[in-house]
């Protein structure tokens, strides 16, 4: 008798099981990085901003495919003089909790961004001297020094609700986002998925797909498994080794577009080191067979780069070209510079930051070994690598860059300007490249108001940096996505790799 009851109970449980499973979302996207926090100012990596762009809006936005700056929570903006920026706000917008959006929220947001406890956007927040709100729908920013790219960053400074943010404790604030965005937050199961639902009151009109699930899967092979098993409609960050395999799969479509990020080798010109001699820098550049790297390591999913900024960036110079691949020439240059037997060189880089970063470092090491340098490889997790970079431990390393502001001015200040702690220059100039003329040109360009004149000035800065070999650009990454054909989605990838769900249509 006892046994019978047990068996029937078990049967009941098992038949009830499938009904407990949740209904499948309208859209499931598998991405390669998990969100770190639901505080929109906690992290300025593309990975985190991508999630935030669904829950929050910035004053401006950059819709796919080009990423041109267009209105969002602000309807108009203007640089009134070198230091003053005026934004006119949109009326009738509501936060997900029902609070109306107005100038007080904008002021609150940018003031909160100055607090290191809440924000990693200190750079842009600290450049603001004062915020005035003459009425509920006008905000006037005055910056500390000329910041020509101020408005260019407004698509990623997400606006939070003043009233609720002040009252919530930080645990809640960091896990449950309340914004004005196209999607409302439903659930975040850490390590598994994030669920969101369409915001029916969205100011652009409710988005088409009602329920959306984003699944972060960091492991490359498993991410592919998700789409192969039809557990995801779209896959962001298709692992390079599997590209050929996906091309052969009839049910999956491969979508790729040039990415903004440029991967480059950074090197300095510190006196007393071999790198002080431009012939040595040239030899290193000529030794690297970038075409082979693109073909083998990147499976063709990259474009060789002649400069660091990408086409969409102000300061891009289409006339720049790469040095030719010429190992013999490189050897000759080394000899000329007085290093016929080479010298010891360490190649540093992260092994968990960029697409195939470790493999690229290994390949560069091989090329340099072939022109007679004594190479040591020193790749490590990004958390350690970037710290060592900041303390100038490495003279030659791999790094990638794309500037969220679409402006080469800020990149130049951080990457090639002489390291100057007091002025906050050269933060990522780990190899300590220094060229006073270039420094002056960079600083001068920031004060130019006219956009075209500024572009010319930045192009000149860019050209000097390339001709003086302040860095050796390798390639622009290519972003590769996969989509399940059966889902019939209209999906246009963005230049910044964000998954902005409102742009995905059925």
């Amino acid at each position: 008798m006892k046994r019978k009851i047990l068996i029937s109970a078990l049967l009941m449980i098992f038949t009830a099981l499938p009904s407990l499973a949740l209904a499948k979302a309208d859209l499931t996207v598998a991405v390669d990085a998990p969100p770190k926090s639901m505080n929109p100012h906690s992290y300025n990596s593309d990975a985190n901003l991508s999630y935030m762009s669904n829950f929050f809006d910035g004053l401006l936005q950059r819709p796919a495919p080009e990423g041109k700056l267009t209105p969002a929570l602000a309807t108009a903006w203007e640089r009134q003089d070198a230091l003053t920026w005026k934004f006119t706000l949109r009326k009738g917008v509501k936060f997900h909790n029902g609070n109306p959006f107005n100038a007080a929220d904008v002021k609150f947001t940018f003031e909160r961004m100055k607090d290191p406890k809440f924000s990693k956007f200190l750079n842009i927040a600290n450049s603001i001297a004062s915020i005035d709100t003459p009425d509920d729908y006008t905000v006037i920013f005055r910056t500390v020094k000329p910041v020509p790219w101020f408005a260019e960053t407004m698509h990623q400074n997400f606006i939070v609700d003043k009233e609720s943010s002040e009252n919530r404790d930080s645990g809640d604030y960091n896990t449950r986002p309340i914004g004005t965005g196209a999607y409302r937050f439903v659930e975040w199961v850490k390590g598994s998925y994030i669920r969101m639902e369409a915001n029916p009151d969205y100011w652009e009109g409710a988005p088409q797909l009602k329920t959306v699930e984003i699944k972060p899967i960091t492991e490359d092979a498993t991410r592919f498994a998700a789409i192969a098993a039809r557990q995801a409609d779209i896959l962001s960050g298709v692992p390079v080794p599997l590209i050929d395999r996906i091309k052969k799969t009839p049910t999956i479509e491969l979508i790729s577009r040039p990415a903004r990020r440029c991967i480059y080798m950074d090197l300095g010109n510190r006196p007393g080191t071999p790198y002080a001699d431009i012939r040595v820098r040239k030899a290193i550049a000529m030794a690297i067979n970038e075409d082979e790297i693109v073909k083998t390591i990147m499976r063709g999913q990259a474009t060789p780069a002649a400069q660091v900024p990408d086409q969409a960036t102000i300061g891009y110079d289409p006339t720049l070209t790469r040095l030719p691949y010429d190992p013999e020439g490189a050897k000759a240059l080394l000899k000329e510079a007085g290093y016929p037997d080479g010298f010891e060189i360490t190649i540093a880089g992260p092994n968990d930051r960029y697409i195939n970063d470790k493999q690229i470092c290994e390949a560069v090491a091989k090329y340099l070994a072939k022109i007679g340098l004594k190479v040591t490889l020193d790749v490590k997790p990004k958390s350690i690598f970037f710290e060592e970079l900041a303390s100038h431990k490495h003279a030659f390393y791999l790094i990638g860059w794309m500037d969220g502001s679409y402006d080469f001015g800020r990149s130049a200040e951080m990457l090639v300007h002489t390291v100057d702690k007091d002025k906050g220059m050269g933060v990522y100039n780990g190899a300590m490249y220094s060229n006073p003329e270039l420094d002056n040109a960079i600083v001068a360009s920031a004060a130019i108001l006219d956009r075209d004149a500024r572009e010319k000035a930045l192009q000149a800065v860019n050209r000097t940096s390339v001709e003086d070999l302040a860095w050796i650009p390798l390639h622009y990454q290519q972003d590769v996505y996969a989509a399940l054909k059966a889902s019939k989605l209209k999906f246009t990838p963005r230049p910044d790799r964000w998954i902005v769900v409102k742009e995905i249509k059925k």
Binding site: A221, A225, T296, I297, K366, L377
Partner: protein
């Protein structure tokens, strides 16, 4: 020769096919690892000799394979066979170093604790209990996790931190038994110094079980090293390691490139099985209470 085969130890060994198999395999692996530079078709960590153009080749007998890379290549154009041979060097180097260091450490601490007793003994044994309960694997992962830079020697260090415990416990137990024996008391009565008693009279009598432990430990340490390297907290990527090879190959299993996981995986398993077969025999031999009959 006759006397040699009549020795009970050798006799039982020669009658046990799996022990012979294990020992032969072990020697073969050790030989390959030791002479890897001579045997391997290439040195996969000599940067100048690798050609990226040879990346992801299939094993020689399949379409697209090449005879210069009998087992295929990885994503950097390194031959799988060569990398495996060099990786085995790392495995065995780490294995033997850890076993040597932790057994010596464990023997010393165990003997001192067991012989002198008292507060010192209590302290050593409390430490041993604590470390033991954390387990070698967990301690090594956590310790390497908080280290900033890692190399073969940090791996050895992290494993040894907990590795000495089993030796110390075993030795201490035996010392407690042996030290009451007549010959020890006699030596003490004749005024021999402690060090002499410990090393001349006690050590030889407590050593045999340690050999079994060492054999078992070698297999465990080799697995642990590959596990740590697989997780990314073991030897750095610039050093060859079977665990690292498998972790690279794992990214390619969906692309159908099974050889990058299967060959190093099988090598690792065979190596460990060989050691375990041998140590099984050794244990039964040294522990006659449990005569082996399977």
């Amino acid at each position: 020769m006759r006397r040699f085969t009549e020795n009970a130890f050798v006799y039982s060994f020669l009658r046990d096919p799996s022990a012979i198999f294990g020992a032969v395999l072990m020697l073969a692996f050790a030989f390959c690892a030791l002479f890897a530079p001579a045997i391997a078709p290439m040195n996969p960590y000599d940067l100048a000799s690798i050609d990226l153009g040879n990346f992801l080749l299939t094993p020689a007998w399949m379409d697209g394979g090449s005879l210069s890379f009998p087992l295929g290549t990885d994503d950097q154009g390194r031959g799988i066979l060569s990398t495996m041979l060099y990786g085995m060097r790392t495995s065995l180097l780490v294995g033997f170093t850890v076993v040597t260091v932790s057994s010596v450490l464990g023997i010393l601490l165990g003997m001192v604790g067991g012989y002198y007793g008292g507060l010192l003994d209590a302290f050593i044994m409390r430490c041993a209990d604590t470390v033991f309960s954390f387990s070698t694997t967990l301690l090594a992962i956590l310790l390497l996790g908080v280290f900033e830079s890692r190399n073969i020697w940090t791996v050895v260090f992290a494993i040894c931190i907990a590795g000495w415990v089993k030796y110390a416990r075993t030795i201490r137990g035996s010392v407690l038994e042996v030290k009451e024996n007549a010959y020890v008391t006699a030596a003490r009565a004749s005024g021999a110094r402690d060090a002499r008693i410990l090393f001349r009279h006690i050590l030889p009598n407590v050593l045999p079980p340690v050999f079994v432990l060492m054999a078992v430990d070698l297999a465990v340490v080799i697995m642990l090293e590959s596990t740590l390297s697989f997780l990314g907290v073991g030897v750095p990527i610039t050093e060859p390691s079977l665990g690292m090879m498998i972790s690279i190959g794992k990214n390619y299993i969906y692309a159908g490139m099974w050889w990058m996981v299967l060959f190093p995986g099988m090598t690792l398993i065979l190596l460990v099985v060989a050691i375990n077969l041998f140590s099984d025999w050794l244990r039964d031999e040294m522990n006659p209470k449990l005569a082996r009959n399977t």
